[in-house]
Amino acid sequence: MQTGNLLLLLVVMVAGAYFVGLRRSYALARPLGGIRHLHSLPFYFAMRSAMWCAIPALVVLGLWLAFDDSIIRQQVLAGLPAELQPTDASSYNLTLSKIQNVASGALPANFVEAPIAAAAENLQALRQTSAMALTVVIIVLCMFGGAWAWLKVSPQLRARQQVERVLQTLFMLCATVAILTTVGIVLSVLFESIRFFGKVPVTDFLFGLQWSPQTALRADQVASGGAFGAVPLFMGTMLISAIALLVAVPVGLMSAIYLAEYASNRVRTVAKPALEVLAGVPTVVYGFFAALTVAPFIRGMGESIGLDVASESALAAGLVMGIMIIPFVSSLADDVITAVPQAMRDGSLGLGATKSETIKKVIFPAALPGIMGGILLAASRAIGETMIVVMAAGLAANLTANPLEAVTTITVQIVTLLTGDQEFDSAKTLAAFALGLMLFITTLVMNIFALHIVKKYREQYD
């Protein structure tokens, strides 16, 4: 039976268990003189039997679906004769996909060796058996769970407490999804990175000046061995982020100061949401704007004054990225500026300082830690930003600080290395995970540091 149908069946059975539980509790209550003689409301008895019916079955279903395919694959491959047994990872994948293609009918059985065809039949049969067994197991579990709940119903049963405890555990499990996600991220990038560092030494990766991830496809092929020195990528990322921050920090900061200290209410209600629209525009739209409008414009400008500008210059990507993070900087700066106590402003103005002097000499120093934290957060956004650089920055890893040349970034390389067909364990794809690890660590450290600064600062005035 298909999983979808099975789930439908499960829903029907759980609903059945609910009604049986409800009827049962009413039946128990009647001779006692009404439901007020039960410990809990009938609803809780019904929920309890529904949970008994659903939870064991769902747990088994989840585990089964997660693991049955890999177990079946192992079984099928173990059944192959010795000469067809895969020796390494790539032949393992090849054999497996061959078997799967025959099994799904995409490849006629007479195109492959007889043992493979047999294995495909074996695979089909095992899959069918697994699906049958799963259906039976789920139905039996549902029935046993429901029956158990039905048997245990008694007027003294603390059904509400049990149901509430299950719900609370469920809520807690939902909250731990955040932990699981973090763990998943760390483990996935870490494992692949360790495998990558098994092939390429860490020092070569961190300090190498040459990035050309094209490796030879076959052992006998004459090709470059592939160089994985990530310094050009780090430099490129830093260059583009620096340009972005040079645009975003002054503009964002000054807008925040103007909106918080000078602007009338009318201006604020219009200008603030308008600036925030910039934050809501998808990054792919900025990428489109950078690649098809800003980059040609900068190139044309450069040509008209006799400068040689690359068509995928770092300047175009950086400028547009700067525009994207303006609202980010301005809203963070706005928060910290408005958090500076009014008494400090009044004190400075009372001593005869002008408004701008108050801002520059009193408010800005008081808000500085918070602003620094905001800038750090903005920088981590710029480093992790992907679509703008994928569309507007280049692929060539140039080690340069000239914003008019094309540079490449960490995120661009991750996307290029991983899109399209690839083997999962070549150094090329593993390199993407190593870059991902670098990106994750960098942004994580920056975020923690930034949040720390912001938090420490806030405690001073509250």
Binding site: M172, A175, F191, Y286, F288, G436
Partner: protein, 422 residues
């Protein structure tokens, strides 16, 4: 007058100038931000508005049974293998009888889209009596012809059409045998290699399925997590650890979630590539922090008196939360969820990682069919060398922005309508 007053007097003009300058910087900064916004929108509308219309060419088409090689239009097989290009070729040759030579004939035939043949087939299927008849029909023009007709006098000089083709098209235009119609194919087809036949329906459906998966997974989980953290969680290290994780996940670059999806969901659990289900799961993990944070704010906004009143009447903690706090906090949670969804709808990078960049012509029918989403379609078209795709990408951006603006407006309206001030 004291010495200090004198000193202050002297510098006063300078200080006021500095004050004015500072204020001007502030106004200038806001001006830069707003100008960037206006530039962005005008650029995209300027590039994209033309893609909502397309040109058609008028030709007298003869459904000649011999040329078509169709004897019985009711026979599906025969109908599918009909030589519709031949009929169009004949019609073009008739319209421009002076054209001779292989090269010129080929150039002439390129004026009409290859998709026009399918339109003829569909007409014949609908009305079999057309066989042998001649009808004057409007046929879809090729994308280069379309660009040429849309271009201004000056831009026409660098058209991809050769001089002869330009003459023919100009002749058709002068005699009123071309017309501009609403581009229906944009909203009724999937992707295509031919710009005039490419549409965004496939991408919209892919986005829809992805968003459904994201909403179904992230809203219940996010709300449950928020309830636990606000109402039940004991103050201990474990709870602190969860909170730190949520705050950090909110700032992790989106591409990292793509790596997680590739390594764990596709690599470990073996789900297929390029499907909205996987995209939805990845986007769920990405939007979950946003939804949890906004849901917690909504729960916090419910005053403690409500909880105390319910508890005073004998409700259990769980009953207080589910019967009283949750219904009151739901509008705020919904607003947060809509904003999270809007974020997810515009997200591109993690979906590139899990293979939703494939060239897919067929419309997806469910969350397990290979599909692409609207932002990825924009990326693909923006990367295409053909110029017509640029206009298509802009048009797709306009559609995407329309969706996002609708969602955000909905969130604002919901907040105004439903949220209660205590």
């Amino acid at each position: 007058m004291s010495e200090t007053t004198e000193k202050v007097r002297k510098t006063l003009a300078r200080r006021y100038r500095a004050e004015k300058r500072f204020k001007a910087f502030g106004i200038g900064s806001i001006g830069i931000g707003l100008m960037a916004l206006v530039l962005l929108f005008t650029d995209i509308i300027g590039k994209g508005h033309s893609a909502f219309f397309e040109y058609e060419v008028q030709l007298p088409i003869t459904f000649d049974a011999e040329v078509l090689d169709v004897s019985d239009p009711r026979d599906e097989d025969e109908l599918n293998y009909g030589n519709y290009q031949g009929v169009i070729r004949d019609a073009l040759a008739e319209r421009f009888p002076t054209v001779e030579g292989r090269q010129d004939t080929r150039a002439l035939n390129q004026l009409v889209s290859t998709g026009a043949g399918y339109a003829l087939r569909d007409m014949l299927r609908e009305d079999p009596s057309l066989l042998g008849e001649t009808r004057t029909l409007w046929l879809l023009a090729d994308d280069d012809v379309d660009l040429f007709l849309k271009a201004s006098e000056k831009q026409r000089e660098d058209s991809r059409l050769n001089t002869k083709q330009q003459q023919w098209v100009a002749e058709l235009e002068a005699s009123g045998e071309t017309r501009m119609v609403f581009n229906q194919s944009l909203f009724s087809y999937g992707d295509s290699r031919e710009p005039e036949q490419a549409g965004i329906l496939g991408a919209i459906l892919g986005s829809l399925f992805t968003m459904i998966v994201t909403l179904v997974l992230s809203f219940p989980v996010g709300v449950a997590a928020a309830i636990y953290l606000e109402e039940f969680a004991p103050k201990n290290k474990f709870t602190d650890f969860i909170e730190v994780n949520i705050n950090n996940l909110a700032a992790v670059p989106s591409i990292i979630f793509g790596l997680l999806g590739l390594a764990v969901i596709i690599g470990l659990f073996g789900l297929p590539r390029s499907v909205p289900l996987v995209g939805g799961i990845v986007l769920t993990l990405m939007t979950l922090p946003t939804i949890i944070i906004s849901s917690r704010a909504a729960i916090k906004a419910v005053p403690p008196s409500i909880r105390q009143a319910a508890m005073g009447l004998g409700a259990s903690k769980m009953q207080v939360v589910l019967h009283h706090v949750l219904p009151l906090a739901l509008p705020g949670m919904l607003t947060g969820a809509i904003i999270g969804m809007a974020q997810a709808l515009g997200e591109t990078a993690p979906l590139l990682m899990i293979g939703m960049v494939a060239f897919i012509v067929d419309l997806p029918a469910g969350p397990l069919d290979a599909a692409t989403v609207l932002p990825v379609q924009i990326y693909l078209w923006a990367d295409s060398p053909e110029q017509s795709f640029e206009a298509l990408a802009s048009a797709a951006i306009m559609v995407l922005l329309a969706f996002l603006i609708t969602m955000n407006t909905l969130a604002v309206v919901l907040r105004k309508r439903l949220e209660r001030r205590w």
